[in-house]
């Protein structure tokens, strides 16, 4: 069940009706939990057991850690919870990758176990872990209600593709009444439509081009491949950002507030800034629970670089069990190291020599180009595909030229959109995707235009959300 499907619309309408009928706040909480489980069970009913085990173990160990005065035992409980949660995640996500890599190393025939990856496992596992770690660090109060904790883990808008919500942000909201407010519904609907527009109009239409080229990159010309990699760059951003916005919009309608997950990442002028703007909830999670746990920047320059590299390597592996993701994460880790070194020692000098504006333009170009090139291994089904694309990018005059007109138009619109954001124009207030600054006076016209656009230009073969696979 995806947010842009007919099934989801029916599901959501029924949920609203049932919530309106339920007068008592406790009933509403159980209704939300039940519907969240239905939402998840729609993919695979058996995996409901999995999400329940993860939730229950998180809740139970949270309780143990909280009630235990001795530091060593607390640590033991935390380790046990990490072992269970990460064990489940590793089994489902990395078993085949592990066996495959060992077999390849030993030159044995490939063996693939029949393990179906549960949707959103990486998201709800990380969410649960954040709770137990925060309890251990005494940063959040204990959640005594299993139902509330289960809803925190399984809250359907962000269950399968984030944003990754912290217990400290979400659990307090469950102690207030679940109420419908006109203001929340209007803003939530606009945010949802803005997300749908990003997903359906931009990402899905771009995928019509990108998917075909990625099937056979070896036959296309260098220019077509450049167009493809920029198109994918925009596709993955709008796909994921669109999902996040839809999740935020739905939550807002239900009266919940979720954190912002994207902030125009392609306007970043350094790789560090990019990670402050891209998948913000994951970046913060990795910073707080991996990077800082390893010592962060408190153990000298060299250890800081190593910590950053390991954090990004794990971030890459979090995205998927494939060497492509490992390479992607490792390169981002190295880039963060280089960026840190650059900022500390060279940046100021260069700004003085070439001037701030030229410096800003150059750093922006380098960042966008670097991020775009690194999406190649991320998107490629195999390492071979990445190699084919990279090797052909600079091969002039060979291959089929395909300048997909719709892709060029969409990328043009995206560039204008980014420039408007960068220039911070007042026009942006009319775009619901920029949900911080809504213009209510034109809301009806804007919603009608958006509905027309969605109806007229959604691709008939729309693709699933990219981040569902993670």
């Amino acid at each position: 069940m995806i947010f842009t499907s007919f099934t989801f619309i029916i599901f959501f309408i029924i949920l609203i009706v049932v919530l309106l009928i339920s007068q008592n706040n406790t009933y509403r909480l159980y209704v939300l939990l039940t519907f969240s489980y239905i939402f998840y069970g729609w993919w695979n009913i058996y995996y409901l057991a999995l999400i329940f085990i993860v939730s229950f173990s998180g809740w139970l160990f949270g309780k143990f850690i909280y009630n235990e005065p001795r530091k060593q035992i607390k640590k033991f409980y935390l380790s046990a919870n990490l072992l269970i949660s990460l064990g489940i995640l590793s089994y489902y996500k990395y078993t085949n990758f592990f066996i495959g890599s060992i077999n390849k190393l030993l030159e044995k025939p490939p063996v693939v176990l029949d393990i179906l990856l549960p949707v959103g496992i990486s998201f709800f596992t990380f969410q649960t872990l954040s709770y137990t770690i925060d309890i251990y660090r005494e940063k959040v109060p204990i959640c005594r209600s299993l139902a509330k904790f289960s809803l925190f883990v399984a809250f359907f808008p962000q269950l399968v593709a984030g944003p990754i919500v912290r217990a400290s942000d979400f659990l307090p909201q469950l102690y207030h009444d679940i109420k419908f407010k006109t203001e929340n519904c209007l803003i939530g609907a606009q945010i949802f439509l803005g997300g749908a527009l990003q997903k359906v109009l931009i990402a899905d239409n771009l995928s019509q081009f990108v998917d075909i080229v990625y099937q056979q990159p070896q036959i296309y010309s260098s220019l077509t491949l450049w167009l493809t990699i920029f198109a994918y760059s925009m596709q993955i951003f709008c796909d994921f950002s669109g999902y996040s916005l839809m999740a935020i919009g739905i939550s807002r309608i239900l009266g919940f507030s979720l954190p912002k997950n994207f902030n125009m990442p392609y306007n970043a002028r350094s790789i560090t800034e990019f990670w402050h703007r891209w998948h913000i909830s994951l970046s913060l999670w990795l910073r707080d629970y991996v990077y800082i746990s390893m010592g962060g920047n408190r153990k000298g320059v060299f250890r800081t670089q190593v910590n950053m590299f390991i954090t990004m390597l794990l971030g890459g592996l979090w995205h998927g069990a494939s060497w492509n993701f490992v390479i992607w994460g490792a390169l981002h880790g190295m880039a963060l190291g280089v960026n840190r070194f650059w900022t500390l020692f060279l940046s100021a000098k260069l700004k003085n020599i070439i001037g701030f504006k030229v410096y800003a333009l150059c750093t922006w170009l380098i960042t966008v180009l670097f991020v775009t090139l690194l999406w190649i291994p991320f998107r490629s089904p195999e390492t071979e595909t990445s190699y084919q694309i990279i090797s052909r990018l600079f091969l002039v005059g060979d291959g089929i030229d395909w300048f997909h007109i719709q892709t060029i138009i969409i990328l043009g619109i995206a560039v204008v959109w980014h420039i408007m954001h960068w220039a911070n124009t007042s026009l942006l207030c009319n775009f619901p995707v920029n949900y911080d600054k809504l213009n209510r006076s034109k809301s009806v016209l804007i919603i009608i235009i958006m509905l027309y656009l969605l109806l007229l230009f959604f691709p008939i073969n729309n693709s699933p959300f990219i981040y569902f696979q993670f």
């Binding site: 036959i219 089929i400 300048f403 007109i405 009806v444 016209l445 009608i448």
Partner: protein
């Protein structure tokens, strides 16, 4: 919320819907599609409105005005000094993606001496419906040759269509034809709307999968409520299943049926596969199908030509693929200008062979 507020809100919604709707109507007509020119036809599903314009901006960008027969061809005038060949086929033949003067029908006509090549292609036309098209044109055009333009799907999918009705006697097929499909009836219900609004056409096209699903559900409910209907359907199906001959026999019988109108030749359009930029060859599955079609053609004294070599040669001569468009997909899809040049050469050669080998006699 008071009544005044609700009235104002509804007014805003209505005005916005109309204003934005008009804007998109103009936009769609300019860049995406024209209103529908389909006229419901109980035999072949639909036909085109004479003198209407066909335009689909999502694949190629050509506007062609149809002639008084509703064909994507110039106005027909019978000339006894010319021989007449009717091209029978689907969207590949109709070729709405390119300007008329660049489609293979026009190009072949220009290169052939003494032939009038008439393009009767219609989008989505089932092979077994080409007989009806030829039969309707027979009186006015008096064809000397029928060229059946086919591809892989026309044999593999069309010949296994469950709607094919087969009449047999003593294990010999007497007649094959296609039962009209229910979904085409839908066009009747929406005809006024879709013939006047590009917006309606586009929305229906977008929602088509859902509409068809809903329509089939209604049909199923009707059948379920009417036991008599249900029984008839089952009986027909079981009889068909029992005596249903294979695809070869059906196609062979169909060729014989077409030959009653005029001599027949087959022009087979083979898709290409691209392993690398240099390694381009005829797509394997369509090529295997072409061998079967060729065999059946031979058995029925029908000349056959596969365009595969022409298309491959054209690709290597120009370095540009014969199928596909920048606004749809490359290198797959319908024939582009480059592809039409290649296929026109194959068609010319086919008609020359017909003349040389005297099949027409």
């Amino acid at each position: 919320m008071n009544n005044g507020y609700i009235k104002l809100l509804l007014k805003k919604i209505l005005v916005s819907t109309i204003v934005v709707g008009i804007f998109f109507e103009v936009f769609l007509r300019a860049f995406i599609t024209t209103p529908s020119n389909h006229i419901y036809d109980p035999v072949i599903g639909f036909r085109y409105q004479p003198h209407s314009v066909i335009f689909l901006g999502t694949e190629g960008y050509a506007r062609n005005r149809l002639n008084s027969l509703g064909l994507n061809d110039q106005e027909f005038k019978y000339d006894p000094s010319l021989k007449h060949a009717i091209l029978l086929g689907d969207s590949y033949t109709e070729a709405r993606q390119v300007d008329r003067e660049f489609n293979f029908s026009s190009l072949a006509e220009q290169s052939l001496q003494g032939w009038d090549v008439i393009n009767s292609g219609r989008d989505g036309l089932h092979v077994l419906n080409t007989y009806h098209v030829a039969q309707r044109l027979q009186t006015g055009i008096k064809p000397d040759l029928l060229v059946l333009v086919m591809n892989n799907g026309d044999y593999i999918d069309d010949m296994s269509d469950k709607n094919i009705v087969i009449k047999s006697k003593n294990n010999e097929i007497q007649d094959v034809y296609l039962k009209a499909k229910d979904k085409e009836k839908l066009k009747q219900y929406f005809s006024y709307l879709i013939q006047n609004s590009a917006l309606a056409v586009h929305i229906i096209r977008q929602l088509k999968p859902i509409i068809i699903k809903a329509f089939s559900m209604v049909q199923s409910v009707n059948i379920f409520n009417n036991k008599g209907n249900q029984q008839t359907t089952r009986l027909t199906d079981s009889v068909n299943r029992k005596v249903r001959p294979n695809k070869k026999a059906i196609f062979s019988a169909y060729l014989k049926k077409l030959q009653k109108i005029a001599p027949v030749a087959i022009l087979y359009i083979n898709q290409l596969e691209y392993k690398t930029v240099e390694n381009v060859y005829p797509a394997e599955k369509p090529y295997r199908t072409s061998l079967i079609v060729n065999e059946i053609a031979k058995e029925n004294d029908v000349l056959f030509i596969n365009t595969a070599d022409y298309l491959v040669n054209q690709y290597f001569a120009t370095g540009s693929p014969p199928f596909g468009f920048h606004n749809k997909g490359l290198p797959g899809g319908h024939l582009n200008k480059n592809g039409h040049i290649a296929v026109s050469k194959a068609l010319s050669d086919l008609i020359k062979r017909v003349e040389q080998e005297g099949v027409m006699l």
